[in-house]
Structures are given as structure tokens and as C-alpha cells.
Amino acid sequence: MDNLDMREIESAIEAILFASGEPVQIDRICIALEMDKPTVELVLKKLADHYSYDRRGVRLIRMDESYQLCSSPDYADYIRKAFEIRKPAKLSQPALEVLTIIAYYQPTTRAYVDQVRGVDSSYTVGLLLDRHLIEECGRLQVPGRPRLYRTTKAFLRAFHLNSLDELPEMPGLETDGQMRLNEDGDVVDIVPLSEQAGE
């Protein structure tokens, strides 16, 4: 493999992302091209700009440390028409509520979701698991060892978020008084999401 010029690097990254189809961790691209992360990030940015500025048929999206190509939403109707597929169903209000609670309080338990909503959420949690918008991430170390849930990369993609940091700010959260569960299941103050992402 020879040295690549800037445009070739862009094309090589495009080729890797296209071949993968799935989200690709930036580290993989760095290793494959033997380049450092800031450079690769720069090229990825250029590639994303090219797609959206030139209104191409694809878009480059970032989900935390992963990148993925997807079709441009501008042409969704044509794609659906070509393959005779329907638009996926909208998330119901309960599903949105459960997803929002998990997104903001993750990792969290179904019991906590139930508490906040005041109703049983088991069906909706199952639905969100099926749609890969949430996933299990261990169990809480309290009696009964309830499962913990968090949002997925697919969640970031579906809501067009680069990372959880980009979630809309929760009103009234300037105070630190948010209720959270600690390892014993007690309610404790919120841990900033940025710290959690670093785990």
C-alpha cells in the first residue's frame, strides 16, 4: 500500500464505510490507513460535508466513535417507491416516554421507568428492545438483580445524534437535584452523562 494523497484517503475511507454497511469504529479506519485519529476525523468531516453540501444520495453519520453511511432522507420516498416498502411506524407516545427516560437516566431499570411513569412499562420496554433502540447492559447489584438498560447506536442514528451529549437539555436540570439510583438502588444525585460515557 503506497502513500495516499488527501483525495485518495477520502475515497479509501468511503470504500471502507461502503463495504461495511454497518457502523465502523474510527480506530479501525486509523489502523487500516495507518493514520492518526485527528487526521481521519478531519477526512471524515470532509466526506460528510461533501455528501450533504453536494446533496448526494448518501449521508455520513457519526454515532460516538463509529461512523456509518446511510441513504439520504431527501430521497426516502423514491427508495420506498423503488422497493415497495412502507415508512416505518412512528414511535407511540408511551414508547417515546420510556425511551426518553432510559436515554436521560441510563443505565436504569424498568422499575425506575415504571416509577416515573406510574404505570407498568414491560411491554414497551420489550418493544424498544425488539427495535434495537435500547439494550441490556448488566444488572443492578441489589436484591433481585434487576436488568439495566441503556440506549444503543441505533438510537443515536434514529434520532440523528452524534452522541448522548447532543440530547436536548432537560428543563430544570441546572440544579443537581436529579434523582438517580446508586448501586444499592437508593436514589442519589445525577451523574453527568459525559462522565458515564467515559466508562
Binding site: C70, A76, Y104, V116, A158, M179
Partner: protein, 262 residues
């Protein structure tokens, strides 16, 4: 204890540079004080919260007593709990009053969170439109996962070495003489010995095989000499003749450009 819900804008309206705060009920005020002090609901320090609660009420310029009565009732209640607790740590009645207060606070807080979540879903809903309008593609067929990448800390090296030393019951690395047989100083490398032998035969002509070993100062030099003879024979640079007991060595060719000892 009920959760009074009164709009107390007038009562608790702040003046000056502090942001306007209004509390719908005394519990909201307590929650606010708790969060301001970064205190968990379970750990509510009644004395401190009571002081701040009263201070907060005093700050208000215009107290409309009629609307503020719930706040004043709460102040009295906090004072009651504080007094009971001061009198005796094991006061069950005060404890259950505390539990009731904590429970109300938690319910209040959950209700607040739910309201916030409901507000947020109004923003999240439209955001999810993006996901309904994009498609991803399947991967192209390719082989995966044949090259291993590792992610270690430099300190892992120190720990690993420590483990080795500990197992040997010594902190110091092994003594040099342990490795004499492997890495001992080797004055005659095989290659150097071969060149030396060839030079000697070229000048002196024929000689006895055993004489080649005379003057060797170490076992390794003997071995080097023997291996050099074998290698020079193989490359036909020297020739062995005679019998097992009376063997002669003579120069029969040129020294190869490169002696290989692989």
C-alpha cells in the same frame, strides 16, 4: 401530610439579581433547598433544612399570609420534627414523620421528572423522523477478524515482570551466571574461527586435525573450531584425509564469500 399545590408567585418572588423562583408548595421549596445543598432525600438534615427554609421565607418581602399558610404550616412541621429528634434519637414518632416527609418529597420529585420527560418527548418525537427516512445497507461479503489488535497499559509490563520475579521468590533479575551456558561471552564465533582456520591452513599447508584444537582455551572454542571445520568441509574450502586416528587437514579451495551457519 398532603402535598399542597398553591401558586405562590407573590410569596416567594425574589428580588434583586437572583433569578425568579416560584414554588407551588412547601415540598417544592424543600426539594429546591435539598438540591441546592446537594443533599439526597434520604439524608435530609432536618436542622439545616429548617434553618434555610425559615431564612428563605424571611427573605420574602411581601408575605401574603393567606396564601403562605401552607408554607408556614410546613415550617411548624419541620420545627416539630426537629424538636422531637433533638429530644431523642430513638423517637419513633418523629422518625415516621420524617419517613412521611421523605416519601412525599420523592413522590413530588418523580412527578416533576415525569413532567419533564413528557415535555422532552415533544422534542424527541420530531427528532425520530430522521430514522424513519434513512436506510442502511448490508455489508459486502468479506472475511473478518483475522488480525489481532491488543490494548494494554504500559504498567502491565511491570506487573508481569513482578509476577515472574515473585514466582521465583526473588526481586532481583536472575544472576548472570545462571545464563552462562546460553549467553556466555564467546571469544570465537564460528564464523571468525572458520576464517582463522582457513588463513592458518593457507599459510601452513597441511596439518593434523587434532592440532587444530591445540591451544583452545575453552569448551566453546573447541566447539567453534569443530563446527568451523565442518562448515569449511561442506563448502569444500578444506579437505580431510587419512584415518580416524591419523587425520590430516589441507586447504583445497577458496574461502567462500559468505560463510553460512544457518
Amino acid at each position: 401530610m398532603d402535598n399542597p399545590i398553591f401558586k405562590l408567585e407573590k410569596v416567594v418572588q425574589e428580588k434583586g439579581n437572583e433569578a425568579l423562583q416560584d414554588f407551588e408548595g412547601p415540598l417544592d421549596l424543600i426539594l429546591f433547598l435539598l438540591s441546592k445543598n446537594k443533599i439526597e432525600i434520604q439524608d435530609i438534615p432536618i436542622a439545616m433544612i429548617l434553618d434555610q427554609y425559615l431564612a428563605y421565607l424571611e427573605q420574602r418581602q411581601q408575605m401574603d399570609l393567606e396564601v403562605a399558610s401552607e408554607f408556614v404550616t410546613m415550617a411548624a412541621h419541620l420545627m416539630y420534627i426537629k424538636t422531637r429528634m433533638l429530644l431523642s434519637i430513638e423517637d419513633e414518632e418523629a422518625q415516621s414523620e420524617m419517613d412521611a416527609l421523605i416519601k412525599s418529597l420523592e413522590e413530588r420529585k418523580r412527578g416533576e421528572i415525569y413532567l419533564r420527560i413528557k415535555g422532552l418527548t415533544e422534542r424527541m418525537g420530531p427528532m425520530s423522523e430522521f430514522g424513519r427516512n434513512i436506510l442502511t445497507k448490508n455489508p459486502e461479503p468479506m472475511e473478518r477478524g483475522k488480525i489481532y489488535e491488543y490494548d494494554q497499559e504500559p504498567a502491565d509490563l511491570v506487573l508481569a515482570m513482578q509476577e515472574v520475579f515473585d514466582r521465583q521468590g526473588q526481586i532481583q533479575p536472575p544472576q548472570l551466571d545462571v545464563f552462562d551456558e546460553i549467553v556466555k561471552r564467546e571469544p570465537y564465533s564460528v564464523e571468525r574461527k572458520a576464517r582463522e582456520l582457513f588463513q592458518r591452513l593457507k599459510q601452513g599447508g597441511i596439518t593434523r586435525f587434532l592440532l587444530l584444537f591445540r591451544g583452545s582455551r575453552s569448551r566453546s572454542e573447541l566447539v567453534a573450531t569443530f563446527m568451523a571445520v565442518l562448515e569449511l568441509c561442506r563448502t569444500r574450502a578444506i579437505r580431510l584425509a587419512g584415518s580416524a586416528t591419523d587425520c590430516t587437514v589441507s586447504c583445497s579451495g577458496e574461502l567462500p564469500e559468505e560463510l553460512k551457519f544457518e
